[in-house]
Symmetry: C2
Subunit: 126 residues, 2 copies
């Protein structure tokens, strides 16, 4: 049994990778890692996400079996999102990504400035 060719179009692993390569999905997973959260709470916590896009993101994650959608018949209705066991195994890796980002943000910002500066120096047009 050989390992998948991750770079091939038809590779199922790329389906998963494509889904994870979504900034909102990563942020949602990271947020749910702490605790179950309700829809509007998520909407408020994750700045900049629209209601429509948040809904789509949640549906996709639910479809992938990563999060669970639980409805409580209160008035008005309450909907709570939480990680499934499968989702929990994933968030360990997602958390590592977030952790890397926090630790290396300075190095990245510095690199960006250096890059931009060198481009500006030999910008001729305009």
């Amino acid at each position: 049994m050989t390992t998948y060719d991750v770079y091939a179009k038809n590779c199922p692993t790329r389906l998963v990778l494509d889904r994870l390569a979504d900034k909102w999905a990563l942020l949602v997973l990271n947020r749910l890692r702490e605790e179950p959260v309700r829809f509007n709470q998520l909407r408020r916590d994750i700045e900049g996400v629209s209601q429509k896009v948040l809904t789509q993101t949640l549906r996709n994650l639910e479809r992938d079996g990563l999060i669970r959608r639980q409805i409580f018949p209160t008035v008005p209705v309450t909907v709570e999102y939480s990680l499934t066991p499968l989702g929990q195994t994933l968030t360990r890796t997602v958390a590592a990504l977030a952790h890397w980002a926090e630790e290396n943000i300075d190095a990245v910002l510095t690199a960006q400035q250096t890059f931009d500066a060198s481009r500006a120096s030999h910008a001729h047009l305009r």
Copy 2:
């Protein structure tokens, strides 16, 4: 020193996370993990990426200091991309993501089928 609020718009960590939340970037980083690769080789290895998008992806990664672009004055010119030390620290995490995807692809596909089936059952319109 408190930790960043990862969910706030202005959080620099989200800049990094947004950049990483790119399927082509993840695939490129994962590919460069093995060895330095030339432009057209990358284009061939990563199925489905257009020349334009690959160029953009590489520029962004270079700007972030994650990969290095090396030009060899051959005829015609040769351009080789490789990971920087910073990029190498990141690819360990990226590899973990890819690894998770490979290990859990079956669970995800099964979840998708279950989800789709339950939706189809109570689809009334059309």
